[in-house]
């Protein structure tokens, strides 16, 4: 598998989260899912996108720990390595 950069993951995560409602320019690494109004079902969908695109399997427990967009990006990048 080709190396995945944090920038690539960030772009994909922001794009996916934006499809759930919030404006893309409102989404930063520090944004919390709570303030973006991203709920548990949204995170399940995000996990499925990540699995399809990067082959990284994120379970419900993994997602529960995530508070910010940056947390999600870091987790995905670390699992993809």
């Amino acid at each position: 598998m080709a190396t995945i950069t944090a920038e690539q993951v960030e772009g994909r995560v922001v794009e996916t989260l934006a499809s759930f409602g919030p404006d893309a320019d409102q989404i930063t690494r520090d944004s919390t899912f709570e303030e973006l109004d991203i709920d548990s079902l949204d995170l399940v969908e995000l996990a499925q996108v990540v699995e399809d695109d990067y082959g990284v399997v994120l379970k419900g427990e993994d997602m529960k720990e995530l508070k910010t967009v940056g947390d999600a990006i870091d987790l995905i990048v670390s699992r993809a390595e």
Partner: protein
């Protein structure tokens, strides 16, 4: 449309022929839904054949191994739960992925009035069919905001090989005084999978001539 069978190849092929006669496109699939790999096998075959996501699922596979609870064996319990409940869960989980992405989808679980009221000799079957109703309601509320509906149909006595004949005593217990036809069940499934049923979710539609009323 994909029509899956485990034992009745002729039946599945005749359903496919009928769909094609009515202008639809369908293929026959052969998998035992109790197999852990069945969901990926079935959905993979359909997605590649039709070159797109599967947006409707009808969990219709069912077996029964009747016995009174004191003598009901572990094997009979496990086999029925596996096919009638666990398989439906696994297929639902697989089906929801593309449905959530597509923001639309229809899942219909074929339960039974045995899941709503007692039917001696069917503790395993009843538990599975009641479980299917709980699965229906829970998954329905989880995904409702994505435009995906999950409903159950609970048939009563229906003319199938599965049921066999009905005694006069049994017929007297049915307010409609007759057993139902597969077409009468299918009509309800067709409605629940249609665009018209877009606001119906988490519902259990009994099709039983009034038996469970």
């Amino acid at each position: 449309m994909g029509v899956n069978y485990r034992t009745d190849r002729d039946g599945a092929e005749s359903v496919v022929s009928e769909i094609e006669r009515d202008g639809g496109e369908a293929i026959v699939l052969a998998a035992d839904v109790a197999d852990r790999d069945a969901p990926d096998t079935l959905f993979g075959a359909l997605e590649s054949h039709f070159d797109g996501p599967v947006l409707a699922l009808v969990n219709n596979a069912g077996i029964s191994r009747d016995d009174l609870t004191p003598s009901l064996g572990d094997e009979e319990w496990d086999a029925v739960l596996q096919t009638d409940l666990t398989a439906a869960f696994r297929l639902t989980r697989r089906a929801l992925r593309p449905m959530l992405r597509a923001r639309t989808g229809r899942i219909v679980n074929i339960s039974s009035i045995a899941g709503l009221r007692a039917n001696p000799g069917q503790a395993n079957y009843a538990a599975a069919k009641a479980g299917l109703i709980a699965l229906t309601k829970t998954s329905a509320v989880e995904v409702a905001r994505r435009g995906v509906t999950v409903n159950a149909v609970a048939p009563g006595l229906i003319e199938t090989e599965f049921i066999g004949g009905a005694s006069k005593e049994l017929l007297d217990a049915i307010p409609a005084r007759r057993i139902g036809t597969p077409a009468e069940v299918a009509a309800c499934v067709r409605f629940l999978t249609s665009d018209e049923a877009s606001y119906v979710t988490g519902a259990v539609l009994t099709v039983d001539g009034g038996l469970a009323a």
